[in-house]
């Protein structure tokens, strides 16, 4: 009988030891961070690179301490293909769920590229209850959704620029042009997607209220390559500023076509292919005078230690050519998102989602994009002073160089009228 009990006790101990082993491994193994995004886009690729860079830096410093154990970080990515024409939102969400199911990430960084995907992705996150730090999708519906049901959506945070902040920054720049150059006629051309339509509409509304006459507001389907229709109308109506809002590769044509059609207006807005340092060569110098926005610092660093460190480390890790090609939207906040998350995990001393969320809300640190905090709806505020908030930069292409013209706190020069 005693022998039987001893055997049973030994077996029970062995079973306990076996059962405990995986748990101990999970508690000491790498912390997986998921990156489900549109990896076919320059923004997606650069954001993944930036997140990997932050992970490598944190791991090189020993990792993140949780429960007295230093644990490494590990990135698991999946291409959602959501930026490609014809890929349904449900497919992008399915890719994200596949990543969560298979890799069991402790948190997600970078996240959805398209606004149309970001909003339903918040429901996926509500289901899995893991921290989600998005850096590319700009949907204005993000904050109202969290405000509407905090308990359900509290796992969602955004470090990237949101459409309402972009609207405010472009409108401020237009106000500056109105004031300094005395112009008052503007024409909008934008991509026919949610964030661009919302941004163009918002800037038009604010600008009209500030004294601008909005002569037109044309939407172009993704993939359009001929903008002669809007350029003809803008030229005929005497537009002094053309405001483009595009993130599709083909949109770089707009500036070239405006030049060849001798449209005299200043082009000031957002054209993603004309943002990287390499675009001057790509467009044979035909983008001179264009005022373009960098949604977040990164490709052009702020004069702050964290921003300059990111810029230099990115160049060192991936080479000068990749650095010069860096996109104006995504990399900066993606790099910061890993540091913000790591700091929250350290403070929480746990990977429990609710504990990490509580610490994320207390974030107060400097990053590549400026000073990072979250407002009550989990959005990083974007303003004019990088010591207090994250900032958006506007620059003007002049003789092959990107000269920062907004905000005034970091501007190198004022906006110049087209020559």
């Amino acid at each position: 009988m005693i022998q039987t009990l001893r055997t049973a006790a030994s077996l029970a101990l062995a079973a306990l030891a076996l059962g405990a082993s995986p748990a101990r491994a999970a508690d000491t193994g790498p912390i997986v961070l998921g990156v489900p995004t549109a990896l076919g886009t320059i923004e997606g690729q650069d954001s993944l690179r930036a997140a990997k860079l932050a992970v490598e830096e944190i791991n090189a410093a020993g990792g993140v301490e949780v429960g007295g154990v230093k644990r490494k970080l590990e990135i698991a990515s999946i291409d959602t293909r959501e930026a490609e024409a014809g890929v349904p939102v449900l497919d992008a969400l399915a890719a994200m769920e596949k990543l969560i199911d298979e890799k069991k990430p402790a948190a997600i960084v970078v996240g959805s590229f398209r606004s149309e995907v970001l909003i339903p992705a918040m429901d996926v996150i509500a289901k899995y209850k893991i921290p989600y730090l998005c850096t590319i999708g700009m949907a204005p519906g993000f904050e109202p959704k969290i405000a509407g049901d905090y308990a359900k959506y509290k796992y969602n945070f955004r470090l990237g620029l949101s459409a309402p902040y972009l609207v405010g920054n472009i409108a401020k720049t237009m106000g500056f042009i109105h004031q300094k150059l005395g112009w008052d006629k503007m024409y909008f051309v934008h991509q026919d997607v949610a964030w661009a339509t919302g941004t163009a509409g918002g800037v038009a509304k604010l600008s009209a209220a500030a004294g601008w006459k909005v002569l037109g507001n044309d939407a172009y389907p993704t993939g359009s390559r001929d903008f002669s229709s809007s350029l003809t109308k803008a030229k005929a109506a005497g537009a002094q500023v053309i405001v483009p809002i595009f993130d599709m590769p083909e949109s770089g044509v707009l500036v070239k076509q405006a030049r060849s059609m001798k449209v005299p207006a200043l082009i000031a807005g957002f054209i993603s292919p004309a943002a990287p340092a390499t675009s001057w060569a790509t467009f044979n110098g035909e983008i001179g005078g264009l005022v373009n926005f960098l949604f977040e610092p990164g490709s052009i660093p702020l004069k702050t230690p964290r921003s300059e460190h990111f810029y230099q480390a990115y160049g060192k890790a991936y080479g000068e050519e990749t650095l010069r090609k860096m996109s104006g939207h995504g990399p900066g906040p993606s790099y910061d998102s890993v540091y913000v998350l790591a700091a929250a995990i350290r403070r929480a001393n746990s990977l429990a989602p609710d504990a990490v969320v509580a610490q994320l809300e207390k974030t107060d640190m400097d990053g590549a994009i400026g000073h990072i905090t979250f407002n009550k709806n989990h959005q990083v505020p974007f303003g004019d002073d990088p010591k207090k908030e994250a900032v958006t930069l506007a620059f003007q292409w002049r003789d092959g160089k990107r000269v920062v013209v907004y905000p005034e706190s970091v501007a190198q020069s004022h906006i110049e009228a087209p020559r």
Binding site: G40, T41, I42, Q45, E84, A85, G86, V189, D192, D218, A219, Y220, P221, G223, S224, R225, D226, F227, S228, S229, S230, T232, K233, A236, M248, P249, E250, G252, V253, K256, Q257, S260, M261, K262, S272, P273, P276, T278, S279, T282, F283, N284, K325
Partner: protein, 293 residues
Amino acid sequence: MGGLLASTLVYGLVNSVVLLLTSLGFSLTFGLSGVANFAHGGLYLLSGFLCWLLMHRVGLPFPLAAAATVLLVGLLGAAIYRTVLMSVRGIVLSEVISTFAVGVAIVEFFRWKGFTTYDFTLPALVDGSVDILGVTVDWQRLLIVALGLALTGLLWLFTHRTMVGLALRGMSQDEYTALSVGIESDWAATLSLGLGSALAAVAGIALLPLGIISINIGYDVLLIALAVTVLGGLESTTGLILGSLIVGFAMVITGNYVGPRWSEVVYLAAIVIVLAVKPSGLLGKSKELEDRV
């Protein structure tokens, strides 16, 4: 004159010839061999990237890179027939599926290899612009108009006035009769695929300097080629010109007077309407002949 009307006339014509040039290779291949080459868009995209690679990685000057691209893409088209299509020749659905698969493979290959950045542009053959009816148009677009019209004329002469062209047309009209007079079917189809692919490369090299080489253009070009040729009639050169003019002007008129967001709906609507009302296209005869038989 200036203004929106003049712009509609000038850019309507330019857009029509852009569509004509884009579709010429697709139409020629079908007209000469009966093969609907659904790899057309992929070959167009390939020509852009290949020319760029020859210039920036091999160091060839643009004219040489362009000539080499046309030659290589033409040879690839011929090779596609010999390796992919020959075994399914005559089975229309299999031909469509095979060529579509080749096109998708080309497009997705470039996506996989990271050709998604903003670096890929080809230089314009001519710089500067000129005023026509008070509308400023760049010389590159005018060159495209001249090239499109010249190529259409030359191809008509080739298919109607040369022995090779007549042999190819004979093969497309009645394969068995053509075989009985010594025209070899596979040779004819290989040549027509090669010529059509080379024309896709010419179109790419002429049109891509207007913008940037982006992956999705591979799919867009196929849709445009389908719309224009289906509208005009798959085997008719005159139909191709008519289809290009109708779709080209309709897109510009829609963009100018309704809104640019609707202009690209036009060519998709053209496919649906024509297939429903006159499946053989405006000047095509194939469906009517089939009905009569």
